[in-house]
Amino acid sequence: MKFKKEITGLKVALMIISMFAFLFIIAGTTPLTTAQTAISEATACCERTNTGAWCMNAPEAECDTNYNTAPTSCETTSYCRLGTCYESGEGICMENTPQRVCNDNGGTWDSREIEEVPQCQLGCCIVADQAAFVSLVRCKKLSTLFGVENNYKTDINDEVSCIAEAQSQDTGACVYEKDFERVCEFTTRGDCGASERVETVNQTNITLSSQKTFYKDFLCSAEELSTSCAKQSSTSCYQGDVYWMDSCGNRENVYSSDKVKSWNSGKVADASTICAANDGSDINCGNCDYMLGSRCAEFTGMLGGPTSGDNYCQKTECVDRDGNKRINGESWCAYDDAVGNGGDMVGSRYFREICADGEVRVEPCADFRNEVCIEGSIETTSGDFVTAACRVNRWQDCVSQDDKDDCENIDKRDCMWLGPVTGMTLGQQQQGGSSFSNPASSGTMFTNPTATGGVTGMAVSPITGQSIIGGSETEAPQETTTTNRPSGVCVPNFPPGLSFWEESSAQQICGQANAKCVVVYEEGLLGGKKIVEGEECLAEQWALASNRVCTSLGDCGGYTNYQGQFADDGYKWVEDGVEKKFSPNNVNIIKSGITGRVISLFSKLLG
């Protein structure tokens, strides 16, 4: 029996090749449940905290004793219940406002959602030719501030339709008599307050009346109207375009140095019929186009100005960090390094850049890659107009996906599918006590690069695992290579950043993955031995593939930071009890940021 055991021991030379072990702690939990955890830490609802914040769930010691404190959540208190606050002066509604704060600021508090509060119902407010999607009281306030009548429409339910409504209004000359003079205002029919009757112009039959008469599509300088307004006396900016103005200060048609064409015999003309959309290259055309990067501005130079007036379509451009020209209003994404495909480097972040008045302004997306930047473009006559935005990185439930289709469902999450890695287990709390060390319990396993003066964001991941091989035959367990991801691994497409230099969830997140491979040898009858199982695990590419999974989980594994520095203390690779490191060649592969492609290739081969 004993002899048989020895034979078996010889045949089965159990070897633990490596451990890319990152213990899983968050088994069975979803990240979003942690919000409740944060709340549960708060022991009281402070009406005001010592720092001056209103209505916070916080430890009781942080509450200002001059205000109310209750050992419960703020949502259940009377003074800190959140609701909608309404102010009748300006007609403004504000949600998520505590009752006390609302009342102290002269508002009226309502426990209902903003959509259910009658005073906060939105409608289309048309004031002259402008539109605003606001409450009725706000509409009246705007009307008062600008001294014009309003037209409030409750049947229009969205902002786009509201703007369209304003743009579709009839415009024309509003003529009336004032102080024995025939006065004209270029406005909308509604603002004119004239009758709905369509007026026809008959020059031989113009009567003076104090009653207003609206002449649709006529300019105030139209000769037929016999007003005192002379045509094209100056120019002015209006809604981003340059317009001719008559001597009475009324807007006419879009500016063009071809005065006859622009005046259009005293009738309203569409801007595109006067001159083509101007990208800023034509100083004598006022049809500025925001999407082409031009908008109306005052000409301040000495030479080369417009033929008439002081306004022109100013072209504003910026140059992005890659040297590309960007037009005014364009926004685009900027990165610290390679992005996506699980390859975001440690400490990197997404940025949105905007060209605003010739200057590139940088808007960082949320730190720790909790937001990523997305961009799209609109085709214009002079090329694409790019717009970008920061949006939430949905990485949280990637690891729990074991189906490729679910993993790659971009409607639900931002994950990617990697090929299978021999012996890889994901999302399982490693059992067996002494077999694996939990780096989370060993603070020394983590280094804080900032504390040591190193480069911020250096990758340091939890290090787990131990060599299993060795010991007597009787003690040697019958180890096998197992995996719970036989078809592949789902990992974040944009790995989240982790605050690994302090006590945080970094240990938990990095500890989700563990790879263990058993190599089986068969001893020949005449001596020697040959590998019958697990040969692939002896190749460095297996370790690279494992590392690839680790680096995709977040700031884990052996990886490079955004400044190009590689750190190899973020993994532990043990083969037959001996700790190994990546070869310089493979370190260069990892540093060059092409880990993803290389490893995915190896994974396919190995898988």
Partner: protein, 255 residues
Amino acid sequence: MIKISMKKELQKKGQVTIFILIAIVIVSAVLVFFLWTKPTYFSEEGRELNFEGCVKDVVNQAIGELEKKAGSINPQFTYQYNGEQFTYLCYTNQYYETCTVQTPFLKNIFNEQMNLLVKDKIDACYSNSISDLKSQGYSVTEGNLEYDTAIEPGIVRIEIEAPTTIGSQSLARFNVEINSPIYEMVMISTSILQSEAKYGDSDTSSIMRFYPNYIINKIKRSDGTTIYILENQITKNKFQFASRSLAWPAGYVLQ
């Protein structure tokens, strides 16, 4: 010869008399001007006495001070960034939650705080003007000063009730108007605040498109705080504040 010299002497005396008479007329005219005309001048051109000018300076200074603190003279709850304190207008200390509004109506608080901030200084402007007049020898009766500020599109209006009597001239009210974009800035900030409270973020690009004279700098900090700096490109006024809404932790929140 004697006759001739006497005649010359008489002519000289006549000239002196005429000069004296002219001098009296001039002095009288000056006195009448200063005693009667000058108070009227005060009422019409108060600026010359530097009362309106003083008020304008005070209000401009107050606007400049308040817009950096989001409308509060002494904001308690702030975020420090680049050596400056940014007042939190909306805040949550939790992750994954939208913020709780701390100051719902910016315009009201700005108006209220501006009234407080300028009170003593406008009183000082008035007192100084009265003192100036008194030192110039006018008989001045001063009354209780009352005023109100109103923020409107493009202007800040100060209505001052100052029942004052200077000589026989009575003055009651001054209206001082100051060109300022503060109304628009406060309303744009309110709009950002509404968006932060509802969605946890705001789209500054669309705001900048609708308000081409404004630049909005939006800076997201690692702790989830967002700093907003709204700048009027023409006047260079800056309105700035902070918000912490829908913040995300690094990784997960530890259980």
